[in-house]
Amino acid sequence: MSSITVQIADYKVSSSPEDTIITYALGSCIAVILYDPVSKVGGMIHYMLPLSKTSPEKAAVKPAMFADTGIPLLFQEFYKAGGNKNTMTIRVTGGGKLYEDNGTFDIGKRNYTILRKMLWKNGYSILAEDVGDSKSRTAKLEISTGKLLVKSRGEEIEL
């Protein structure tokens, strides 16, 4: 079994049944996980910020840093690898926040809002999610089964 790590501001797609795609320490970042149970293709992005207008120069080099430039790339790669829009699922995790803050640091909420907008505009819906709270999460997707485990503070849940 081989483990593929998605670094911050990156995405990975796989159709090899022996693969596991994993990302660590999401903080306020968000992981979007695509999986097609028919073709057994899976993909994951770990984006950090909502909008590429924050730094168009960085977006040009690392588009997966931002939701608006990264998420379309994830979908494109997923379809290219054989994922099908009619049978695929979308799951979401991350978007945590600092425990006590006047809202200035709530980048997680902004990350989540833009994602909802983008998916809604394109007619997609979210199958399951574990977002928000003062939790930093780790997400692990098994390509052979589509099983998605989200871990935080030593507790693991299946999404």
Partner: protein, 285 residues
């Protein structure tokens, strides 16, 4: 039962901090500094010499020929990288592979310190504040955790339970040990005779508005914002994760808005990942 006194006594038994990196930082700040001055300071620190050669020859820099003298290595790496490597070398000597009390590996701990140093420096640049020690103070802001970790480790389930009751990291430490990593950090700074800025950053980075030394207030506030942002970004996520409060006073002092934080995060990320690698190269066998 662990007492405050046990912990303060433990600080006395910490190994010495070689201070080569602080000497280098002092040289760097001179307007007419020379690399030969750098070389002389480094030559007194054999572990640093060895690690700089290792770094210069690492795949990270991809130099095809073998670098076997320190002068060449310094020229190749440049003063800034040499200084960063010096701090990584010094912290590397005292950091255990895992800080068990906080459930964080030394690699992730260093990544967090790197993130705080780089973001704080970028805040200072943007807000036009001259703060010479800010990079070093950012890297060394959590020294207290080196000692506190061993005591938290003795009761890991209590730590997790207390976090679940919505206490912040420093409140949990206070409840379990009667002292937190900020106060311990300040005592370590005093023992190692680090500068007042570094000591104030250690003591007040969770409550910057209480900073005693007026001249350190800006640097402490900037490190506080950088610390909060790096945890938000998931840089060095430990057991207490996001259980911390942000000081509205610090945000107001630098007029920090969400879009400022997002720009800082995007502009700092590459440098943070690079600086994290330096430590990994030095730590690798």
């Amino acid at each position: 039962m662990i007492s405050r006194d046990d912990i303060t006594r433990n600080i006395e038994s910490l190994p010495a901090f070689s201070q080569t990196s602080l000497k280098l930082s002092h040289i760097l700040q001179k307007p007419d500094f020379s690399l030969s001055e750098f070389e002389e300071t480094i030559s007194y620190d054999p572990s640093l010499v060895a690690n700089l050669l290792k770094l210069a020859n690492s795949s990270y820099f991809g130099i095809p020929r073998k670098i076997n003298n320190i002068k060449l290595a310094i020229n190749l790496l440049g003063a800034k990288r040499v200084f960063e490597a010096a701090i990584a070398n010094e912290l590397g000597k005292i950091l255990p592979p895992v800080l068990k009390g906080y459930q964080i590996s030394s690699t992730d701990f260093w990544k967090h310190c790197a993130a705080v140093a780089i973001i704080a420096t970028n805040i200072a640049k943007e807000k036009d504040h001259s703060a010479e020690m800010i990079f070093t103070a950012g890297l060394l802001h959590d020294l207290g955790k080196l000692v506190v970790s061993t005591y938290l480790e003795q009761n890991p389930s209590q730590m997790t339970q207390l976090i679940e009751t919505n206490l912040t990291e420093t409140e949990v430490e206070q409840k379990m040990l009667g002292i937190d990593h900020c106060e311990v950090g300040e005592l370590i700074c005093k023992k190692w005779k680090l500068t007042s800025d570094i000591s104030e950053v250690n003591r007040y980075h969770h409550n910057p508005e209480d900073t005693v030394d007026e001249s350190s207030r800006n640097i402490v506030a900037m490190v506080h914002i950088a610390d909060s942002l790096s945890h938000t970004m998931g840089m060095g996520s430990d057991v207490a994760e996001l259980m911390r409060s942000v000081s509205p006073w610090a945000l107001a002092r630098f007029n920090m808005k969400t879009h400022d934080l997002e720009r800082l995060a995007s502009e700092s990320l590459d440098d943070i990942l690079e600086l994290s690698e330096i430590f990994n190269e030095i730590r690798s066998k």
